[in-house]
Amino acid sequence: MKPTLRTGLLALALGISGAAAHADITVYTAGPAGLAKALAADFTKESGIKVNLFQATTGKVMARLKAEQANPQADIVISASWATATSFADQGLLLPYTSPNAATVPDFLKSDSYVAEGVAALAIAWNPKSGTNKPTDWADLAKPEYKSLVTMPDPAQSGSAFELVAGLDAAGHDDLFPALAANGMLVAGANKAALTPVLQGAKAAVFGAVDYIAMGAKAKGESIDVVFPTSGTVVAPRPMMILKSTKQADEAKKFIDFVLSDKGQEDVAKVYLMPARTDVEALRPTITELKLLPQSSDAYAKRGEILADFSKSFGH
C-alpha cells in the first residue's frame, strides 16, 4: 500500500521511522503495459523496492494527476508525450535529478528534471497483403492507389501524431494534408485504433503509426511492414520524471537509475523502442539511422492553431 496519512499515523504511533525499510513507490505510466510490468518486476528484484503501477494512456494518466493535484499519489510519471514533461517542468512540478546512468543519453533526450525512457519514431505501417504497392514516402499515400485506404491517428488524441503534423508543417509540407483528405484518409481514434483496420485489410496503411507498436504486431506474425518515409520523420521520446511532491525521492531516483541501467534499457529495447542510451543495442533502426524532419521549436505554443488547420483540411 502507498503510505497515506493513515499509514503515516500508524508509523508514528508505533514509533517506527520511515527509514527502517524501503517504502513502495508509485509509478503512473503510459503504455505499453508489458514494458511497465517488466521494468517494475526487474527493479523490485534488484532493489527490494516494491512498485505500484498505474498504467493508462498518456491522456488518462494526466487526467488522474490533475484530479489528484490536492494530494498527489504518484512518485514517478512516464508519459508518451515529451510536451507533458516540458509543461510539468514549466509549472515547477518536477524534482530535479540527473541520473549517473544518463551520461550516454543524448542531450536532446534529457533535461535537469526529466529524461527519456526510450524513443519511438513515426512511420508508415503498411499491410503487404493489401494489394497496393509498398509506399516509400508520406506523399505516396495521397495517390489514387491508396484512395480511402489510409488511416491516421487523430493528432488531437495522439501526442506522437501531433508531433508529426507539426514536423511536416514546419518542413513545408502544408499541402500534404489537404491532398490526403481529398484522397479519403480516415482520421480517427488513437494509435491502436488506426492500426487494427489495416491489420484486417479494411485499410492498406497507417499514416503516422507509432513504429514499435507495428513492429510488435509484426513480430507476432501480423502482416504489417514498417516504412520510414524517405523525406524524414519525427521521433517521440517518452519522458520519465519524478514529481516534486514525492515522499520517496531516494527510491524514485533509484527507479530512474534502474530504467537507464543496462538491464532496464534492455527491457525497453525488447518492446522495439529505441533505448534512450546510445550505447545499448536496439532491435530496430535507431535515431542515427533515421532521417529526421527539422524540429519545430514553437509547436506547443501553436498547438491550437496547428490542430485547427489540420481539422480544417478534413472538413470538420
Binding site: 493513515r6 503512473y28 503495459a33 490536492a70 485489410g201 501480423e222
Partner: protein, 550 residues
C-alpha cells in the same frame, strides 16, 4: 420511517451528492483540484457559446431518442409475446436475451466493426460489407439498441406478466381484437415499467462512451460524452470543461427523468391487489413457428453475431490472417488461462467487486424505493432525484468526482487507492437500476395489501417480510443481476479510479486493445461473457424456484 428516510438520505449524500457536488465545484472553480477557489466561472461563457457544444447537445439528444425508439421497437413485441403466450423455451429466450447485456458495448462494437468493415468477416464469408451502414447515425443507433433492448424486454415482459390477460380479456369480451386489447389495455397498464426502462435506456445511451467514440469518430458524429472524454484525455487536460459538459448531460437526464415521473404518476397503475390469480398464458396456435423465427432472428443478430465475431478474433492467431483454417489456434486462450498477464486476477477482482456492488446497490435500492413510494413529503422527491442523478453522468465524470472528493488530504480515512473506491464508483453509477426496478414493483402493489396485513394484526416487520419481500424480490434480484453484470465489466470509471496495480476485466481488455493483442483481449472478453452469463444463470434458477414458492 423517519429513521429509514434519514439513513437513506445520508447514505445518498455520501455516495451520490458529494461526488457530484465536487463536479459542480470543478465546473465553477477551475483550480479546485489544487484546492484553490480562484477565477470562478472563467470557463462558462466560452464553453456554452462554442459551436461544438450546441452540436454535441443536439447529437446527444438525437442518439438518446433514436436508441429509445429502436429498443422499444425490438423489445415490446417480444416482451408481449413472451409474457402473454405460451412460448416454447421461454426461459431459454430470457437467458439468451441477457447475453447482449453481458457483452460490454465497446467489445460488441469492435466485433461489429471486425464483421462489417471492408475485408471484415462478413466480406470474407459472403463478399459483401456493410461499412456504409455501420459508420452512420442509423448504424450507431442500431448497434446501441441491440445492446440495450434487453432492459426494456425484461421490464416489459415482467410487467405484462403481472398484468396478465385479465384486463385485456374484459376488452375482448366487449369485442376488441387481440392487437387492440394489447394496445389499449395491456400496454398502457405497463406504463410505469415501460417508462422506467425507456428512461434507463435513454440515460444509458446518452452516457455511453465506447460505441459513439469508435463509430461516431468515423463520420464526425460527436456527442457530449466524447466531448467530455476529449477534454479529459487530450493534452492539455481541461477538467473544468469536462465538468461543465457533464452538468449539461445531467440536466438532459434530469429532464427525461421529470418526464418519466410525470408519465408514471399521471394515473393509477395498481394491478396487484388482494386477489391475483396468475392468469394462464395462451397458446400461439399457428403463429408458433413465425414467432419462434422472430425470437431466433433477434437472438442471432444481437447475441450470435457479436459472440461469433469475438470468438473468431480470439481464435485467430493474427488478425491479418483472417478466417482461414491455418490461422486458427488457441494461443490467445492459453495466454489468458495461464495467467502470465494477470488475466485471472483481473477476473477475480471484477467478480468480487461486482458481487459486493450488487449487494450494496440492492439494499440501497430497496430503501430508496420504499422511502420514495411509501413515504410522504418533499424529501422523497429529493431522494428520488438523487438516486437518479448518476444515470445522467458518464462513468468518467463519476470517477472524476470521486477522486476530487476522496483524495482530499484532510480526510482521516479514505477509500481512495483501495478496492473500496471501485465499489463506491459502481454503486454510484448503477444505483438507478435497482431503484427504477424496485420503484416500478412497489408502484404496482396496491397499498390496501399493506393495510390488510396491518388490520389482521401483522407487525410492520412481518408485513414487510410476508407482503413486500415476495412481491418485490424478483425485481430486486433482476436489478442486482444487472448491477453485477455491468459492474463486472465496467471500463471507463475503473480506468481512472482503480487503485494502482489493480486490473479489472474492463481495464485488462482495454489494455490489450490499446497496446497489447486484440486477440488476447477478445479471448478474455469471451471468457468473461461466458462467466458473467453462467453466474446469473445459476441465480435465475434459484429465482424461478423462489417465484414458484411465492
Amino acid at each position: 420511517m423517519p429513521l429509514l428516510s434519514g439513513l437513506t438520505a445520508a447514505a445518498l449524500v455520501v455516495v451520490v451528492a458529494l461526488p457530484f457536488a465536487f463536479i459542480a465545484l470543478q465546473a465553477i472553480f477551475p483550480e479546485i483540484g489544487a484546492g484553490s477557489f480562484v477565477r470562478p466561472f472563467a470557463h462558462l461563457g466560452a464553453v456554452l457559446k462554442s459551436e461544438d457544444f450546441g452540436i454535441e447537445t443536439r447529437n446527444t439528444l438525437m442518439l438518446g431518442a433514436g436508441v429509445v425508439l429502436a429498443s422499444s421497437v425490438i423489445a415490446v413485441p417480444l416482451a408481449g409475446l413472451r409474457a402473454l403466450y405460451r412460448l416454447p423455451g421461454a426461459l431459454l429466450w430470457d437467458v439468451v436475451f441477457l447475453v447482449p447485456f453481458m457483452i460490454p458495448p465497446y467489445i460488441a462494437t469492435l466485433g461489429w466493426i471486425l464483421t462489417l468493415q471492408p475485408a471484415g468477416y462478413l466480406q470474407q464469408l459472403t463478399g459483401v460489407n456493410l461499412a456504409g451502414f455501420l459508420f452512420s447515425f442509423p448504424g450507431i443507433v442500431v448497434v446501441m439498441a441491440l445492446h440495450s433492448f434487453p432492459v426494456v424486454y425484461f421490464a416489459a415482459s415482467r410487467s405484462f406478466a403481472t398484468i396478465g390477460a385479465r384486463f385485456s380479456d374484459v376488452s375482448r369480451v366487449f369485442g376488441a381484437g387481440p392487437g387492440r386489447a394489447f394496445w389499449r389495455i395491456t400496454l398502457p397498464l405497463a406504463t410505469p415499467a415501460l417508462a422506467a426502462s425507456l428512461l434507463l435506456v435513454f440515460a444509458m445511451s446518452i452516457e455511453e462512451y465506447g460505441t459513439p467514440a469508435v463509430l461516431g469518430a468515423r463520420f464526425g458524429f460527436d456527442v457530449l460524452v466524447t466531448g467530455i472524454d476529449g477534454s479529459l484525455s487530450d493534452w492539455p487536460i481541461d477538467l473544468p470543461k469536462a465538468a461543465l459538459l457533464s452538468l449539461a448531460l445531467i440536466v438532459l437526464a434530469l429532464l427525461a427523468f421529470a418526464l418519466q415521473r410525470r408519465i408514471a404518476t399521471a394515473r393509477d397503475f395498481d394491478v396487484v391487489g388482494g386477489k391475483n390469480p396468475r392468469a394462464p398464458t395462451r397458446s400461439l396456435g399457428i403463429w408458433q413457428a413465425p414467432v419462434l423465427a422472430l425470437f431466433g432472428l433477434v437472438a442471432f443478430i444481437s447475441t450470435g453475431l457479436p459472440l461469433l465475431a469475438i470468438l473468431a478474433t480470439a481464435l485467430s492467431r493474427t488478425i491479418s490472417g483472417g478466417l482461414a483454417p491455418n490461422n486458427i489456434d488457441l494461443s490467445h486462450f492459453e495466454a489468458i488461462l495461464s495467467d502470465t498477464t494477470g488475466a485471472m486476477q483481473a477476473m477475480a477482482n471484477s467478480f468480487s467487486l461486482g458481487l459486493i456492488a450488487a449487494l450494496v446497490a440492492g439494499v440501497f435500492g430497496i430503501a430508496v424505493a420504499y422511502v420514495t413510494t411509501r413515504g410522504a413529503g418533499r424529501g422523497q422527491r429529493v431522494i428520488d432525484a438523487l438516486a437518479m442523478l448518476p444515470n445522467a453522468a458518464p462513468g468518467v465524470v463519476v470517477a472524476l468526482g470521486l477522486i476530487l472528493l476522496w483524495n482530499q488530504p484532510a480526510l482521516p480515512v479514505t477509500p481512495y487507492n483501495t478496492m473500496w473506491i471501485l465499489v463506491l464508483a459502481y454503486v454510484c453509477i448503477l444505483l438507478p437500476q435497482p431503484v427504477r426496478y424496485t420503484v416500478a414493483a412497489f408502484q404496482q402493489i396496491n397499498p390496501s395489501l399493506e393495510a390488510a396485513a396491518r388490520i389482521s394484526g401483522a407487525s410492520p416487520m412481518r408485513t414487510a417480510l410476508r407482503i413486500w419481500v415476495p412481491l418485490i424480490a424478483p425485481s430486486v434480484l433482476a436489478a442486482m443481476l444487472l448491477v453485477f453484470t455491468v459492474a463486472a465489466r465496467e471500463l471507463v470509471a475503473s480506468l481512472l479510479v482503480a487503485p494502482v496495480g489493480t486490473d479489472t476485466i474492463g481495464t485488462y481488455i482495454w489494455r490489450q486493445f490499446d497496446q497489447g493483442s486484440v486477440g488476447d483481449g477478445m479471448a478474455m472478453a469471451f471468457l468473461a461473457i461466458i462467466a458473467t452469463t453462467l453466474i446469473p444463470l445459476a441465480l435465475l434458477g434459484g429465482l424461478r424456484r423462489f417465484e414458484r414458492k411465492a
